[in-house]
């Protein structure tokens, strides 16, 4: 008893002392983080500001700023770098976050101009517009509105009034990056959006925005897929590869650490709060529904087209010609061997780079190809599993090659590959979650965008996972039904002898 009492006292005193430690966190120097993991958003290059002060630190890269909060809370990193404006929004939702008093530095953001025929004109116009905004105070006005006085609930921008007389501008923005570009009430908003809209009105363009992860913006612009890529942090290397405009805003970067944990809400209050923020506020459930629809659409199109293509190719190669089989093997090797994201990005930026085919259809093409490859493999497995005697018996009876395939071989091969087919469908649905890389707003991407607004980590992730499970369950159920309906052994005797008179 005594020992336990001592332990309890020890524990309580520890708890009492902890806030004292927390108070000290903001006084730490940047150098004291040397050797500890620090988070930074991929492709923003803030790490260059402090890299020489923390030489032994390994930087951890995160695609979304809010993932860094999660990483910090779960102690995966000791601190992370973010622009002061971004931190302002995070702090509103996560009061436990603190910044070091010492500032790592400032960042200058520019735009990158697409490698296409409009490049020179656009560059000149953008630089002219940046200069103009600086001169007439618009830049300061926007900075005050979006950065100093930003309110995620009310800040909006005018996205109308485009004459479009000089054509369309395709603009790549992050989309989950408050206050620069984010989804509010189902449409894009933010500093970057506001800036481009003002520019477009002034120069007679109509802007079309694409939500692309930061690391995909530069490659997309360099291939000419997008005319303008927003929010590029200036660095030497970047300057070589593309054409950058003048700086259109600067802002301080802060180092964020974990302060005191404060949570007065009960577990259920937290859940209902999360639910409200994730689904109800701004009618975000509509976004989720739309994302789920896109995921289902891509999956369905890919399954149907992939099955069709795979089957057609197999019909062509099944007789074992060396050349068609060789070519098919090469493509199977090529497509199967490539990470899905890379295949999609190659299709989107290179193969269909100059076409205006939307990301969703490019994804459908990519996944159809991948599914077709799986289909060919499955058919081969099924076909090879059929006993040679079945071929010989049907040939000896006088079945032609085609009749033999459809009447004798395929129905038996199907029994072998349909279980694999079911698994492939599930795999496909899961794989589609990477289409966000090519500006498709699927379920995963929507969940990312919403998370970037709500600053909620666990709740949307788990709910998105559940939605995937639901889609998978429905899809596999359908395949299973087909499986059962074509199973010859499940037919009734009446079915077998349909149209025959007088059998018992």
């Amino acid at each position: 008893m005594k020992r336990i009492a001592v332990l309890i006292v020890l524990f309580l005193s520890l708890v009492a002392v902890m806030p004292l430690f927390a108070d000290d966190v903001t006084k730490q120097s940047i150098e004291s983080f040397d050797g500890k993991p620090i988070g930074v958003q991929t492709a923003v290059l803030y790490e260059e500001l402090i890299a020489d002060r923390v030489p032994n630190t390994t930087f951890q890269y995160y695609t979304m700023p809010n993932d860094m909060i999660l990483a910090l809370q779960s102690k995966k990193i000791s601190a992370y770098l973010i622009e002061q404006v971004g931190f302002g929004v995070q702090k509103a939702n996560h009061p436990e976050l603190e910044t070091l008093d010492e500032l790592p530095g400032y960042i200058d953001a520019t735009m990158i101009v697409g490698n296409n025929s409009k490049q020179d004109t656009l560059l000149a116009q953008l630089n002219e517009f940046i200069a103009l905004c600086r001169a007439d105070g618009t830049a300061d006005e926007m900075y005050d509105y979006w950065i100093n006085n930003f309110d995620p609930e009310t800040s909006t921008c005018d996205t109308t009034g485009f004459s479009g007389e000089n054509g369309i501008l395709s603009v790549a923005v992050e989309g989950g990056y408050e206050p620069f570009s984010f989804v509010s009430n189902g449409s894009l908003s933010g500093y970057d959006i506001d800036f481009i809209c003002r520019f477009s009105r002034a120069y007679g363009y109509t802007p079309v925005f694409y939500e692309v992860p930061f690391e995909s913006i530069a490659p997309g612009v360099e291939t000419g897929k997008y005319d303008i890529g927003m929010n590029i942090v200036v660095s030497e290397e970047r300057n070589e590869t593309g054409t950058l405009t003048d700086v259109y805003y600067s802002c301080p970067v802060v180092l964020v650490v974990l302060g005191e944990q404060k949570s007065e809400l009960s577990f259920f209050q937290q859940i209902s709060n999360s639910f409200y923020k994730t689904f109800i506020r701004e009618n975000r459930w509509k976004l989720f529904l739309q994302g789920a629809g896109v995921t289902v659409l891509i999956t369905l199109v890919s399954i149907l087209a992939g099955t069709g293509i795979g089957f057609a190719v197999f019909m062509f190669i099944r007789r074992g010609g060396k050349i068609p089989n060789g070519i098919t093997d090469f493509f199977l090797w090529l497509i199967h061997g490539m990470p899905t994201v890379l295949l999609l990005m190659i299709l989107y930026y290179i193969v269909f780079g100059s076409s205006r085919l939307g990301g969703m259809w490019v994804s459908a093409v990519g996944f159809s190809l991948m599914f077709a490859c799986s289909m060919i493999d499955m058919l081969r497995v099924g076909y090879n599993a059929i006993d040679k005697g079945q071929f010989e018996a049907s040939t000896a009876l006088g079945y032609s090659d085609t009749l033999r395939f459809f009447k004798i071989i395929l129905p038996q091969a199907a029994r072998h590959f349909l279980p694999i087919y079911r698994n492939e469908v599930v795999t496909l649905i899961k794989e589609t979650s990477v289409v966000g890389y090519i500006a498709v707003l699927d379920l995963t991407k929507i969940s990312d965008l919403v998370r970037s607004r709500t600053y909620e980590a666990f709740f949307p992730l788990i709910l998105t996972a559940i939605m995937y499970f639901v889609i998978e369950t429905i899809m596999t159920y359908i395949v299973k039904r087909i499986d059962i309906s074509i199973d010859p052994r499940r037919r009734s005797q009446t079915d077998i002898l349909k149209g025959i008179k007088e059998w018992e």
Binding site: D387, G389, Q390, E392, A393, S394, T395, A396, L397, G398, Y399, S400, L403, K407, I408, P411, Q412, R415, P488, R489, Q493, I496, L497, K498, G499, I500, K501, W503
Partner: protein, 368 residues
């Protein structure tokens, strides 16, 4: 009806099971094809319906050369039924569909017609109760009878049987054979590759013995089974297995020969006691007598075993002067000669190579 001219089949591994086969199959023939393994019996059968493509030669069916490129093989095959060793019923179809579907798909019959014909055939093979079973629910014998019914449903002009009972349990061979015998009696043209000699003899009106890359000997069942003219046929019919050695000079490796005889005996299930009698006889006659007394011994030793008659025989022929091998010091050999299960005879024969002295011995076995 079917004429086969200079048929040759060479496989990719350069084996030539069929070298030059010529054969005429007439309407109503029931031909049994027999012969040792690997002599191209099945290959010949499979060439007739082009399941195996011959390397050269012609196969003329009803005046049409089916080895020619333009020939519609699917039409030709509808006229030829084939029954396989491994039945090859379609696994995804019920018994009734196995028999109905080819009629509907290939002969354009109505479902009702196909059904009626299928039921008629099912009852003729005694399996009317298996209509809705799947092949893997049936015994091998039942499957093979269904396969025969499926073939018959196509009303073929000839049926090719490729070892129809080889994959069956001994207890099921009879049921399949009796179905085939019934077909033979009804005057169908058939060609049957088989290892069952008694069955071949009873069912066929022509027997082909295949060896040496072609038809080695042909005749009626009586001719082939009772009076085979050629050596290999005779040996095959009597199920003879033989070994032979030539002993020249005095440094013959008798140990190696004994070892080989041991293996031979084990393979053919010859009693070891009987085999040691044989060894003793060879050693006594060849080594201790002939080789010992002649200046340039040259002896041919032949050991034969007939499974059918269960007789182990020893034939020794040698050059040079005659020796009476019974005149020996060996008590053991004398005792062996006196046993009632041992027979001994010797004679002088004409031989162009000079092996004029011949000794025949045989060893029977009586269970004590």
């Amino acid at each position: 009806m079917i004429e086969i001219k200079h048929l040759r089949k060479e496989f990719d591994d350069n084996t030539v099971p069929l070298n030059d086969v010529n054969l005429v199959i007439n309407r109503g023939d029931v031909i049994a094809v027999i012969g040792p393994s690997g002599t191209g019996k099945s290959t010949l059968l499979r060439c007739i319906n082009m399941l195996t493509e011959p390397t050269s030669g012609n196969i003329i069916v009803d005046g049409e050369d089916i080895t020619e490129r333009g020939c519609n093989l699917n039409e030709v095959r509808k006229k030829m039924g084939m029954v396989f060793q491994s039945f090859n019923l379609f696994g995804h179809l019920t018994v009734i569909e196995n028999i109905m579907n080819p009629q509907i798909t290939l002969l354009g019959k109505s479902r009702q017609e196909a059904y009626d014909r299928a039921m008629e055939l099912l009852s003729s093979v005694g399996l009317s109760s298996k209509v809705f079973n799947y092949p893997d629910e049936l015994s091998g014998g039942q499957q093979q009878r269904i396969a025969i019914a499926r073939t018959l449903a196509m009303d073929p002009e000839i049926i090719l049987f490729d070892e129809p009972t080889s994959a069956l349990d001994p207890s099921m061979i009879g049921e399949v054979q009796s179905v085939i015998k019934l077909l033979a009696k009804s005057g169908r043209t058939m060609m049957i590759v088989t290892h069952e000699m008694d069955f071949a003899r009873k069912v066929a009106n022509r027997v082909l013995f295949m060896d040496e890359g072609g038809i080695y000997e042909e005749g009626t069942p009586k001719e082939i089974f009772e009076h085979p003219k050629r050596e290999k046929t005779r040996r095959f019919i009597q199920r003879l297995s033989s070994l032979s050695y030539r002993i020249q000079g005095i440094d013959f490796d008798i140990e190696a020969m004994n070892e080989e005889l041991q293996g031979y005996g084990e393979k053919l299930l010859i009693e070891s006691e009987r085999l040691s009698k044989l060894s003793l006889a060879i050693e006594e006659i060849c080594i201790n007598t002939i080789a010992d007394y002649s200046e340039n011994p040259d002896i041919i030793v032949k050991v034969e075993y007939s499974e059918k008659k269960d007789i182990l025989s020893l034939i020794i022929t040698y050059k040079g002067p005659y020796f009476d091998v019974r005149d020996t010091d060996s008590e053991l050999f004398k005792e062996l000669l006196s046993e009632p299960t041992t027979s001994y005879s010797e004679k002088t024969v004409d031989d162009p190579d000079g092996f004029v002295n011949r000794i025949d011995m045989s060893f029977k076995w009586v269970e004590e």
